[in-house]
C-alpha cells in the first residue's frame, strides 16, 4: 500500500532524460526578440533604488511608519553604543531613522536569503538542464512571470533568462545594504522607501526560485488538483531508516528521492521534511512526507526518529549538530549557508564518506554537491537505523516525574518563554505524576519548542524532552493530509475570478503565509482559514502556514485541504507551495491588473501597484512571522499595494505601517475617469498591522479586503462579513461603518435597519463611489 502512495505523479520519460540538457527547439541568439513583450515599455524597467520613491512616498503619507524600538541603543559602529532615547547618536542618527535602518537591514537579510537560495538553485538546475531549458508553465499560463515582466520588462523564456533578474536583484541589494552603513541615509521615510525596494527585490528572487524549481523538477504548474500528501509526525514509519530534510532548498532532498527511485528503495527508507524543504520535496515527489512547520524541529529530533538529518538552508536550528548527536543521528550539511564547521567531503569518494559517517569517525559532513548527498544520506541511514533500537531518546514518564521534583519553581522558564507558556505549572504537575499539562503544551504546537526554557532552567531539566514525551501519545494521531503545493495561479483562473474580485463579488483573497511564531499555537491559522473559507473568500497558503493549516481536523477527521478544493476561486484553499511560492500571490494580483484590466506590465510598476491597492481586495496574513525573510516578503507585498495583518510578535519587527481613520484627508482619491479628487474610505485601513488576538485579526482581515473600487453589491458583501464578525467578537456594530457606506446601496440587506439607524446617529452623509479610484494623477 505504501508503494501505491509513493508512485510518482511525474511521467517516466522525464526521468530518463533528466540529466540531459534539453535544448531542442530553443535557439539562443543573444539579444533575440524572444524576450520582448507585445506592449509598450513603461517608465520604470529595472527600477533603481530611487525610481519608485515617489510611489513609496504616496504610500508612506497614508500609512506612515509606526516605530516600536526593540532596543534604545545603536551598536553598529565603534563610536557607540549610543542611546537614542530622545537623543541623536554619534553619527547624527535619531531613533526613528535607526528603527527604519534596522528594518531595512532585516529586509536586506531576508532578500539575500531568497536571492542566495534562488541563485544557488538556478545555478544547479542550469547545470542539470542547460541554460536553454524553456520556461513552459503549460497551456493555462501565458503570464509565466508577472513580477519579472513588470520589474524587468521582459518575458523570461528559458532558465538562462532568469539570471538577468537575479543579477539585477544582487546589484540592487548591494546598494540597499550599503545604505545601512554608518553615515548614509538619514531620513526614516527614505529608509522605508528602500525597504520597499528590498521587498520587491525579494519578490523577484522568489519568483525566479519557484519558476526554476517548477521547470527543473517538473513540479505542478498550478493545476489546483494537486495530490494530497501525508503530513504529520504520525505518518513516519519509525521502523524504517528515516531521513529528515530541513530547510528551504529542494536540491539535496530531490537527489535523495532520486536515489531512492533509482535504487527502488521506496519500501525501505522514509524521507520526510520540516519547513519549506518538506513542501518542495513533496511537490517533486509525493512519496516524501511532511513533518510540519519549523516548530516541529526540536521535538522531532528529540524524539530520536531520524537517522540522517540533511540540512540545506534557512530556518534550521543552528544547534542541529549538537541535538543530532544526542540521539546518534548523522548530519549532512549541503550548502555554503550552513557549513556547521563540518569537514568538507564534497569531493571525496561517497563510499569513504559513508564509512566515516557510519563508523562515527566524523559526526557529520559538508557535501556541497546535491547529487552526492542522495547516496550518502540513504546509505548511511540504512546502515545506522538499527542502532536506534538501543537509544533511549526521551525520558520515561517515571523519569520525568522524578526529575520534575527537582524544579525549584523559580519561574524563569515562563519568563523567558516567548509566549510565557505555563511551563513551570506543567512541571510541578508532572512532579505529582500528572503529565496532562505538559501534553497540553505539546498540542497544536502551543509550545513551539524553541528550548529557551531549558536553557534558563537552573536545574538543567530537559523541558522540551518532557513536553515531547508527554505529547508522544498524540503522535500516532498526527496523520493529516495536505494538498501538495501547486505553484502559480493560472491565467484561466484569473480570467474567471479577476472581475468578481475587482468588483467585490468575491469578498477577498486572503493569503496565510509565514512562519510558526504563533501566539497561541498553529490552530489559530486553521480557524481563521476555515472562517474565511466558509464565507467563500479565496484562501491561499504557503510555507509553515500551509502546514499548520493542515494539522487541524474537523469532527470527521478531515483537514481543510480535504474539505475545500485547491483552486484559486471563492471557497478554494490553494496551497501555493513553499515560502518562495509567495511570489505567486503578488503575481496573481498583478495578473488581475493585466489580464482583467489590460494594464501593461513592462516597466509599469506604479500603475500596477496603484491598481492593486485600490481595486484588488487582497490581504496577507502572517500570524507567526518571525524571520527577516518574512520582513522582506511583507515589504514586497506592501509596495504592490497589498496590506497584511500580522501576529502580535511582529511588533518586535519594530515597524508597522498604520493608517488613521480619524484623518479624513488621508483617504482622498483621484478618480482617473473624471480627473477629480474625491472622498475615499480607509480601504485598506492599514498597510501593515499587528493584531493582539485571532479575533482582532480576523475582523481586521475582512475589513482590509474592502477596496474603493467595490461595487455596491461587492461592498454589501464585504460589509456583511465585517459586521457579522465584529458583532460576534465585540457584541455590536462596528464603530466606523459611516466611513465604508458610501450610499444606501452599500448597506447589507440583513443589517439594513440597524446600520441605517447607526448612520443616522452619526450624521452620515452619502457620497458617490469613484469610477476609477487611484492615488495617481490622471495622465
Amino acid at each position: 500500500m505504501a508503494f501505491e502512495k509513493t508512485a510518482k505523479k511525474l511521467d517516466d520519460n522525464f526521468w530518463n532524460t533528466k540529466n540531459l540538457k534539453i535544448s531542442i527547439g530553443e535557439v539562443s541568439d543573444g539579444k533575440s526578440a524572444k524576450s520582448k513583450l507585445d506592449e509598450p515599455m513603461g517608465p520604470t524597467p529595472k527600477p533603481s533604488v530611487t525610481d519608485l520613491r515617489s510611489w513609496d512616498f504616496k504610500l508612506l503619507k497614508r500609512y506612515p511608519p509606526f516605530y516600536a524600538p526593540f532596543c534604545d541603543m545603536c551598536c553598529l559602529c565603534t563610536y557607540g553604543k549610543c542611546d537614542l532615547l530622545g537623543k541623536k547618536g554619534a553619527c547624527g542618527i535619531n531613533a526613528e531613522a535607526q528603527q527604519a535602518r534596522t528594518v531595512l537591514l532585516a529586509s536586506c537579510i531576508g532578500t539575500a536569503a531568497h536571492a542566495g537560495h534562488a541563485r544557488h538553485l538556478l545555478h544547479h538546475v542550469i547545470h542539470m538542464h542547460g541554460r536553454d531549458k524553456p520556461i513552459d508553465l503549460g497551456k493555462n499560463i501565458d503570464i509565466e512571470a508577472p513580477i519579472i515582466r513588470t520589474l524587468i520588462g521582459k518575458k523570461p523564456e528559458t532558465l538562462g533568462d532568469l539570471e538577468e533578474s537575479l543579477a539585477y536583484v544582487e546589484e540592487q541589494l548591494t546598494h540597499l545594504l550599503s545604505a545601512c552603513h554608518t553615515g548614509q541615509e538619514g531620513s526614516s521615510l527614505d529608509f522605508e522607501s528602500k525597504t520597499f525596494h528590498a521587498g520587491i527585490m525579494d519578490d523577484l528572487a522568489r519568483e525566479v526560485a519557484d519558476i526554476a524549481q517548477i521547470i527543473a523538477y517538473r513540479m505542478s504548474k498550478g493545476d489546483g488538483d494537486e495530490p494530497l500528501v501525508e503530513l504529520g509526525l504520525g505518518t513516519v514509519n519509525k521502523d524504517k531508516p528515516v531521513i529528515l530534510c530541513i530547510g528551504h532548498n529542494v536540491a539535496p532532498g530531490a537527489e535523495i528521492l532520486d536515489y531512492i527511485e533509482d535504487n527502488d528503495l521506496y519500501e525501505d527508507v522514509e524521507v520526510c521534511g520540516i519547513c519549506c524543504t518538506a513542501i518542495d520535496i513533496t511537490r517533486y515527489n509525493s512519496a516524501a512526507k511532511v513533518i510540519g512547520p519549523l516548530s516541529k524541529q526540536l521535538k522531532f529530533i528529540r524524539s530520536g526518529v531520524s537517522d540522517v538529518i540533511v540540512v540545506d538552508e534557512q530556518c534550521v536550528r543552528t544547534d542541529i549538530l549538537e541535538e543530532a548527536k544526542k540521539n546518534g543521528a548523522v548530519v549532512i550539511a549541503t550548502t555554503d549557508k550552513m557549513c556547521l564547521g563540518l569537514p568538507d567531503k564534497t569531493k571525496e569518494d561517497s563510499d569513504l564518506v559513508i564509512s566515516e559517517l557510519v563508523n562515527g569517525k566524523i559526526d557529520g559532513a559538508l557535501i556541497l554537491e546535491p547529487k552526492n548527498v542522495g547516496k550518502v544520506a540513504v546509505e548511511v541511514a540504512k546502515k545506522i537505523a538499527k542502532r536506534r533500537e538501543s537509544i533511549k531518546a526521551l525520558p520515561d514518564v517515571s523519569e520525568i516525574s522524578k526529575l520534575a521534583k527537582e524544579c525549584t519553581e523559580c519561574g524563569w522558564c515562563v519568563r523567558v518563554c516567548p509566549n510565557n507558556r505555563p511551563v513551570m505549572d506543567a512541571v510541578t504537575s508532572a512532579a505529582k505524576g500528572d503529565l496532562t499539562k505538559l501534553a497540553k503544551l505539546y498540542e497544536n504546537d502551543m509550545c513551539y519548542a524553541c528550548g529557551r526554557c531549558e536553557e534558563e532552567c537552573e536545574r538543567k531539566l530537559p523541558l522540551v524532552s518532557f513536553i515531547t514525551k508527554a505529547g508522544d501519545h498524540h503522535v500516532k494521531n498526527q496523520k493529516f493530509k495536505m494538498r501538495a503545493g501547486r505553484g502559480p495561479v493560472q491565467d484561466v483562473e484569473i480570467r474567471k475570478v479577476g472581475g468578481p474580485i475587482v468588483l467585490g463579488d468575491i469578498p477577498g483573497v486572503v493569503a496565510f503565509v509565514g512562519c510558526s511564531n504563533y501566539p497561541n499555537g498553529g490552530i489559530e491559522m486553521a480557524k481563521m482559514a476555515e472562517e474565511l473559507l466558509k464565507r467563500r473568500y479565496i484562501v491561499v497558503a504557503t510555507g509553515c502556514a500551509a502546514m499548520s493549516i493542515g494539522e487541524y481536523v474537523d469532527e470527521d477527521g478531515l483537514t481543510l485541504y480535504e474539505r475545500y478544493e485547491g483552486i484559486f476561486d471563492a471557497g478554494g484553499l490553494a496551497n501555493a507551495g513553499s515560502c518562495v511560492s509567495n511570489a505567486h500571490i503578488s503575481g496573481a494580483c498583478i495578473k488581475i491588473a493585466n489580464i482583467f484590466a489590460k494594464k501593461p506590465l513592462s516597466g509599469n510598476f506604479e500603475e500596477i501597484a496603484d491598481y492593486i491597492l485600490n481595486r484588488v481586495g487582497a490581504c496577507g496574513v502572517a500570524w507567526g512571522a518571525f524571520s527577516q525573510k518574512a520582513a522582506a516578503i511583507a515589504a514586497g507585498v506592501n509596495r504592490w499595494g497589498i496590506p497584511a495583518v500580522l501576529g502580535p510578535h511582529s511588533s518586535k519587527y519594530r515597524r508597522l505601517h498604520l493608517g488613521r481613520i480619524d484623518k479624513k484627508e488621508l483617504w482622498d482619491l483621484n478618480d482617473l475617469r473624471t480627473g477629480e479628487v474625491v472622498q475615499g474610505e480607509p480601504a485598506p485601513e492599514h498597510l501593515l498591522y499587528a493584531a493582539e488576538t485571532m479575533e482582532e485579526a480576523i475582523v481586521s482581515i475582512v475589513k482590509m479586503c474592502i477596496r474603493p473600487n467595490d461595487t455596491p453589491k461587492g461592498r454589501q458583501l464585504k460589509l456583511s462579513h465585517y459586521i457579522d464578525l465584529y458583532k460576534r467578537y465585540f457584541g455590536e456594530l462596528p464603530p466606523d461603518l459611516e466611513l465604508f457606506v458610501r450610499n444606501e446601496r452599500d448597506v447589507p440587506i440583513t443589517y439594513k435597519h440597524d446600520v441605517m439607524e447607526n448612520l443616522k446617529e452619526k450624521k452620515w452623509v452619502q457620497r458617490e463611489a469613484p469610477k476609477e479610484p487611484s492615488l495617481l494623477l490622471k495622465k
Binding site: 509606526f66 516605530y67 516600536a68 524600538p69 526593540f70 532596543c71 534604545d72 541603543m73 542611546d83 537614542l84 532615547l85 530622545g86 531613533a95 526613528e96 519568563r415 523567558v416 516567548p418 510565557n420 501566539p519 502580535p648 510578535h649 511588533s651 518586535k652 519594530r654 508597522l656 498604520l658 488613521r660 480619524d662 498591522y689 499587528a690 493584531a691 493582539e692 488576538t693 479575533e695 482582532e696 481586521s700 467578537y729 465585540f730 457584541g731 455590536e732 464603530p735
Partner: protein
C-alpha cells in the same frame, strides 16, 4: 539575578539605560490626581479573571477614567458594565503618540495612560513606542509584571500582592 522586582518580567526587554520607576499604589494615585486627561487601556490577558476585572471596574469608576479596550476585551468589559471604546493595542498606541489626537472621548490629548492586561511583549513594544515618541504623556502599568519601558510600573509580584495593589489603587 538581583532586583527581581524590577527586572523586566521578560528579562530581555531591557532596552537601554532608562527604565521604569517602581510604581506603588500611592504613587499611582498621586499621578492620577495630577493628571488632567488620564486614560485606562485594558487588554485581553485579564479577560478570564473576574476578580481583576472587578478591580479594574473599581478603578475606572472611582477615578472616572475613559477606557480603551484592546484585543478581545471590549465585550467582557461591556458585560461587566464598564463602558469602553475598542482599539487594537497597536492602534491605540499609534493614536496616543500623536499630541494632536483628540483622545478616546474626543475631548483632547491624554496626558497619563494606565495599562493593564496587554500581552507582555506586545505591551513592551507599545510602551517603547510611547517612551520614544510620546514625550507629552506618562505611562503607568498596573500588571503584575514589571514593565521597564513604562515610565512607572508595578513590580513583578505574586497574585495576592497584586490584588492588594489594585485594591489600594482603586481607592481615591
Amino acid at each position: 539575578m538581583d532586583g527581581d522586582r524590577t527586572t523586566p518580567w521578560q528579562p530581555t526587554v531591557i532596552a537601554g539605560p532608562k527604565h521604569a520607576m517602581l510604581l506603588t499604589p500611592a504613587i499611582a494615585k498621586m499621578m492620577l490626581k495630577k493628571a488632567k486627561r488620564p486614560l485606562f487601556v485594558i487588554g485581553s490577558l485579564i479577560e478570564g479573571d473576574k476578580e481583576i476585572v472587578s478591580f479594574c471596574k473599581d478603578i475606572v469608576e472611582n477615578w472616572n477614567l475613559p477606557v480603551a479596550a484592546t484585543g478581545n476585551m471590549y465585550k467582557t468589559l461591556t458585560e461587566n458594565g464598564v463602558k469602553s471604546k475598542r482599539y487594537g493595542a497597536i492602534e491605540i498606541v499609534n493614536l496616543l503618540k500623536d499630541p494632536e489626537w483628540k483622545g478616546v472621548d474626543g475631548e483632547g490629548s491624554h496626558d497619563l495612560v494606565l495599562f493593564i492586561g496587554v500581552t507582555y511583549y506586545l505591551a513592551s513594544q507599545g510602551l517603547s513606542s510611547l517612551k520614544h515618541f510620546a514625550p507629552h504623556l506618562k505611562t503607568l502599568t498596573l500588571c503584575k509584571f514589571f514593565h521597564s519601558n513604562a515610565d512607572a510600573s508595578f513590580p513583578n509580584m505574586s497574585d495576592s500582592e497584586w490584588i492588594k495593589y489594585l485594591e489600594k489603587t482603586s481607592k481615591i
